[in-house]
């Protein structure tokens, strides 16, 4: 059994916007080598939780640890272990792919040569090495997403967070990216936290947390949550939402 700390552990996190409760006592874990799914409809609180994990918001109550490091106590060390793909595309489309990579590398204190070597390897893995010197704006939506995933991996994080990373992409691109993230988790031993409202992105063996109105309603593998039903039917029953 591995003694390495869990890439992401959230314990009893709650968050309020004024009088509105956005998250209520949320606990979850993204284990090493696993593609963990946070499933919820729009407005469930996924993005709020995401903003707390990335420390865009401060934690009001509860505890978040990344690779065993308390985010509240040692934010720099915790953030250094995480790679992030945001819902809205965050590449600078006026810069080339290589320049975007260099900027990201600099934000993590990586030297130019080190960044370029790593970027080349990661873009090769994503099938985009020949686009390295193209403007990011000239890439398709799916390709931009792949560049963002490669960018998130530049500094060799333990944890990758993806917030609705396939929104706006065609079915083929979505499937390719989900498959790539599964491979990354398995091959590199990364913890992946994948937030989505798209049930078809969840494989039966994936650990799933169902988030609704700020609370975790169910957790377990997708197959366990579905039981005799489809995951979609189970999700709709849990959340009381219409199909």
């Amino acid at each position: 059994m591995s003694s390495e700390p869990v890439p992401l552990a959230i314990e009893g996190v709650s968050h309020r916007y004024g009088s509105t409760e956005a998250l209520r006592d949320v606990s979850l874990e993204a284990a090493r080598g696993q593609f963990t799914v946070l499933l919820g409809v729009n407005g469930a609180g996924k993005t709020t939780l995401f903003n707390l994990i990335t420390r865009l918001f401060g934690t009001q109550s509860g505890r978040i640890t990344v690779g065993g490091v308390d985010l509240g106590r040692a934010p720099s060390d915790a953030l250094a272990q995480m790679g992030v793909v945001f819902q809205s595309r965050a590449l600078d489309t006026s810069l080339t792919v290589a320049q975007n990579m260099l900027y990201q590398g600099a934000l993590h204190g990586l030297a130019r040569r080190q960044t370029l070597a790593r970027a080349e390897a990661l873009l090769g893995r994503m099938g985009l090495s020949e686009r390295m010197h193209d403007k990011a704006g000239r890439l398709s939506g799916g390709q931009q997403r792949r560049v963002e995933i490669a960018r998130a991996l530049l500094h060799k994080p333990r944890l990758i967070l993806c917030d609705e990373a396939t929104v706006g992409l065609d079915v083929r691109s979505r499937a390719d990216i989900v498959a790539e993230m599964h491979r990354l988790a398995a091959d590199e031993g990364l913890g992946v936290l994948w937030t989505t409202h798209l049930i078809d992105e969840v494989a039966p063996e994936d650990p799933v947390y169902v988030l609704h109105k700020g609370a975790i309603l169910a957790s377990g593998s997708a197959a366990e949550i579905a039981g005799e039903r489809t995951l979609e039917a189970a999700f709709l029953a849990l959340t009381g939402t219409e199909a």
Binding site: Y17, T20, T48, L56, G58, L79, Q99, H108, G109
Partner: protein, 266 residues
């Protein structure tokens, strides 16, 4: 201590410089604005606004000579607001989050961003001064050197104001309105276009507002530095208000206490 601070700061400055170089129209717009004031406004008002001997000038001066330091500060004011606009835009597109999730402290990331904005403004100001020199506004050549620290300080103050404002502006659409309430009053109620004693002759309350306007002190700091002198009061005001706005901006971007944290995430 985490290594690579210098690499991080250099990366942020490099990105801003790259964006600035790619936006050639931004450079020309930044130059055209003060040049219009110098070539048209100042030339037109030369006859109307006679200026007696006033510090730091040793003799009677033409209005063009008087107005140049104010126009340098105007370039920095617009540049500071442009940076603020770019921060709001980056926040809407998500690029800001890429910056803010860096493992380096947030104050350091924002300070690097501010330094990048100041460096960009220096290029604009010196390009303007070169044209003004050719137009006949000829301060002592050593003044171009002594001016540099004054420009850095005033650029930091005006950039810090922009940074602070960017945290308070919720959407890009609100930006134009906010700017109308910031740029024009700040510029016109200052010593950029007319000396404070002249202003007092017209309106005592406007003079008092201008006296307390930090932009006035940016202008005077630049004016004195360009003529190899130090205006100590302006220096103190620029450093003091700069530190206050910078502190306010750091606080506003603080994840647990700031204005950003109070917004709904979704």
């Amino acid at each position: 201590m985490r290594p690579g601070w210098l690499i991080c700061a250099r990366g942020i400055i490099w990105r801003e410089a790259l964006r600035f170089l790619q936006q050639k129209e931004r450079f020309f717009a930044a130059l055209v604005r003060p040049l219009v004031w110098l070539f048209i406004f100042a030339a037109g008002f030369r006859a109307v606004l006679g200026l007696s001997i006033t510090e730091p000038y040793q003799t009677y001066i033409l209005y063009e000579t008087y107005v140049v330091p104010g126009l340098c500060a105007m370039i920095q004011l617009f540049n500071g607001m442009q940076s603020s606009l770019s921060m709001v835009y980056d926040r809407e597109t998500g690029a800001m989050r890429t910056l803010l999730i860096s493992p380096y402290p947030r104050w350091f990331l924002l300070a690097s961003k501010l330094a990048a904005s100041v460096i960009v403004s220096l290029f604009q100001v010196y390009a303007f001064l070169a044209i003004a020199y050719a137009w006949g506004v000829e301060p002592p050549l050593l003044g171009f050197v002594t001016l540099l620290p004054a420009l850095v300080l005033s650029g930091m103050l005006l950039g810090a104001i922009g940074l602070f404002l960017s945290s308070a502006i919720k959407q890009l659409e609100n930006f134009a309105g906010v700017m109308n309430f910031v740029i024009f009053p700040t510029f016109f109620a200052s010593s950029a276009l007319y000396p404070l004693w002249r202003l007092r002759e017209g309106s005592v309350w406007l003079h008092d507002i201008a006296l307390f306007n930090p932009f006035t002190h940016c202008v005077e700091l630049i004016r004195f530095a360009l003529y190899l002198e130090v205006n100590w009061i302006s220096l103190a005001v620029v450093v003091g208000t700069g530190a206050a706005f910078l502190g306010g901006a750091f606080l506003a971007y603080d994840p647990s206490r700031g204005l950003i944290a109070r917004r709904r995430g979704g």
